[in-house]
């Protein structure tokens, strides 16, 4: 791609990243969450992919590493569900809510300013899903782009 496209992609990529991470982090307060934010971050990565080409991207990051991250995200999600079983005796139990510790504040009902420190295990699950979706969607786009650009087609 031309220098104009690459420069634009360079400028836009951090903003996309920040916005995606914001959507993941505020998943328990506003519309959005792990999947939506992950999709935004992955689309930012896809922007870089388009601008710089898949062989360059393939040199930067290996698809096996992304697959490992995807597994880690899924494992994190299920581990939190298992922790619910351990601490509150229910699978997927929300053992952090109301505890006063991490993400443990109980929010006030009605129109309040969003309190980030609420939601119990939901933000943690959003992070786990976010990691999985970023890695998963990006590996799909990367492998597809690499396969369709390779010379085997002819």
């Amino acid at each position: 791609m031309t220098k104009i496209v690459r420069t634009t992609a360079n400028i836009l990529f951090p903003f996309t990243l920040i916005f995606g991470l914001y959507v993941i982090a505020h998943g328990h307060l506003t519309p959005g969450g792990g999947f939506q934010g992950g999709a935004i971050v992955a689309s930012g990565c896809a922007l870089l992919l388009v601008a710089y080409g898949s062989p360059w991207m393939f040199n930067c990051i290996k698809d096996t590493r992304l697959a490992t991250f995807e597994s880690l995200g899924a494992i994190g999600f299920i581990t939190i569900a298992f922790l619910g079983l351990v601490f509150s005796a229910v699978f997927f139990g929300n053992f952090l809510t109301g505890s006063g510790s991490l993400f443990g504040t109980t929010p006030a009902t009605g129109s309040t300013l969003s309190d980030f420190n609420t939601g119990g295990v939901l933000p943690l699950m959003n992070f786990a899903v976010g990691v999985k979706v970023i890695a998963g969607l990006f590996v799909i786009v990367l492998v597809m782009a690499y396969a369709s650009s390779s010379k085997e087609w002819d």
């Binding site: 506003t30 006030a108 300013l113 969003s114 309190d115 969607l137 597809m144 396969a147 085997e152």
Partner: protein, 119 residues
């Protein structure tokens, strides 16, 4: 009448999608057809949860003066739609990668020619 309009749109989208799957010969267009069916079903689910004049079901940012939960739109169909969208993305990615590989093996995207398995 106007309140039935979205449901007519749902049926129309499902029929358009089915038309694309059944009568279009290009594999990519069939995949698009399935996506249209999926959008139709998602629109249907979203319509079920709509309340006239309702606000978004966000617990902490209700406009002042509204009461919980009578004036929110229903959140459950939105959660269902979200799940369905996530699944739809996975199905779409899988179908497109299969189409890529099929094109590599068969050299065509015409569904009439991709029928080595028959009878």
């Amino acid at each position: 009448m106007i309140e039935y309009l979205p449901f007519i749109a749902v049926v129309a989208m499902i029929l358009i999608g089915l038309y694309a799957v059944v009568f279009r010969r290009n594999l990519i267009k069939m995949v698009i057809g399935i996506s249209i069916i999926e959008s139709g079903v998602n629109l249907f689910l979203i319509m079920l949860g709509y309340r006239e004049g309702g606000v978004a079901p966000i617990f902490t940012s209700l406009p002042s003066g509204t009461t919980y939960p009578g004036e929110m739109v229903l959140p459950v169909p939105q959660a269902l739609t979200l799940t369905s969208i996530v699944i739809g993305v996975a199905v779409l990615a899988l179908m497109l990668s299969l189409v890529m590989h099929i094109y590599r093996k068969y050299g065509t995207l015409d569904v009439q020619k991709i029928r080595r398995l028959k009878e």
